[in-house]
Symmetry: none
Subunit: 238 residues, 2 copies
């Protein structure tokens, strides 16, 4: 089974997703449920406040562009109701990003749309880790002799440092988190690339080949092709 030791506080995480595009809200909720979390969605500000009062989320994903209330207003009302729940904001790639930047101070975080699902989940896990306990428990992924430290972003194969570009890093993190499952190219594309990425070229193959060159340099290969299906990261079976 997967043996990534991420922060598990016994009972499952409760996530509230607030976004007026049902597509996005559902997407995020689905991925969160896949992680074993409980997820609720709200399509506007009023609904969000109602849900927050009832559902008592541990963390909130909040789009700033809502039909009724401003995202900032929602935040204020949450906070003045005494809810110290951490928030990860979603914002368009326009000027609002700057205003949001100032809000990450309380331990919150933000992400620019369109984002990649893995990126969002990584941020959520990071914020949770920070808000639940002290930070000195590092988040480290391990598969065979391959080790990834999510704080320092260091990746080592058999102790030897490997330098990766951002895309390579994210793709590898996804492979490691899901190891030893086989992932289709479509899954990889959906999780690692922005959700509205149109390209259906061979980007995935390309990055995989880069990773192979950097990771499997002479050693036993860890990334395996399952022809007609996709890729796996694991120790060679049998």
């Amino acid at each position: 089974m997967t043996h990534h030791e991420h922060v598990d506080k016994g009972n499952s995480v409760r996530l509230l997703v607030v976004d007026d595009e049902p597509h996005i809200a559902d997407l995020v909720a689905t991925v969160a449920r896949y992680e074993g979390w409980q997820a609720a969605t709200a399509l506007n500000g009023e609904e969000a406040l109602r849900e927050a009062a009832e559902f008592h989320p541990d963390i909130v994903v909040l789009d700033l562009m809502l039909p009724d209330l401003d995202g900032f207003t929602v935040l204020d009302r949450l906070r003045s109701a005494g809810a110290m729940v951490p928030v990860v904001f979603l914002t368009a790639r326009d000027g609002t990003a700057d205003r949001v930047a100032g809000l990450t101070r309380g331990g919150d975080d933000y992400l620019v749309k369109p984002f990649s699902v893995e990126e969002l989940m990584a941020r959520l896990r990071a914020v949770l880790r920070r808000s639940t306990g002290p930070s000195w428990k590092r988040s480290v992924l391990k598969v065979s002799d391959l080790v990834m430290d999510e704080d320092t972003r260091e990746v080592r194969r058999g102790g030897k440092l490997v330098t990766l570009t951002p895309t390579e890093y994210e793709l590898l993190r996804y492979l490691m988190r899901r190891s030893p499952a086989v992932l289709t190219k479509a899954q990889i594309l959906d999780h690692v690339w922005e959700y509205d990425f149109g390209g259906r070229s061979n980007v995935v193959e390309l990055v995989i080949s880069h990773l192979r060159r950097k990771l499997d340099d002479g050693r036993e290969p860890l990334i395996h092709t399952v022809r007609g299906v996709g890729y796996v990261l694991r120790r060679a079976a049998e």
Copy 2:
């Protein structure tokens, strides 16, 4: 809600934050928890006194501008209740600063709003160090051959003194405290700059480049760029 579930964390610091702006209270509490402290919040004077009686903080952050009681009154009541807990005051940038200066006895301190989170945490640590240990032990940060003395504000690289501007000093301190973690520019902005700083330019890059020139002058570079993510301070890995 505030949580003083007595999860006995040994000798972890207990901090009470009193501020009527939930943003600020939350901000400070979150950062403190990140340091491994236990934090409780109060939004007005009465609540503060109740919390102080129950929570038994080791240190208090107290805004002077409260809706019900004057901050000075809160202080008096705390003290007359026998609580010798040290206090760090928050005050607006007006005349009150002078009155505060007069009231800060022995171990107390004060800070003018808007402050930077790192500045506040540094003061808290300093006050604690003074009040708890009769042994005046210095607070020195060290990364490789880079040494920062937080009492004298001296910074040395390989024994050689380096003079830094206030901003450079604070940014470097943050990098050193969090080393070897990678920090995003948003994180740096949020911790080192005042919490209502709206700047969206490349100030961070600028100060980083200044630090590099002053610190890495000819030597092995300690500040590394992680493209697409942020910066790290550490000995070059591998």
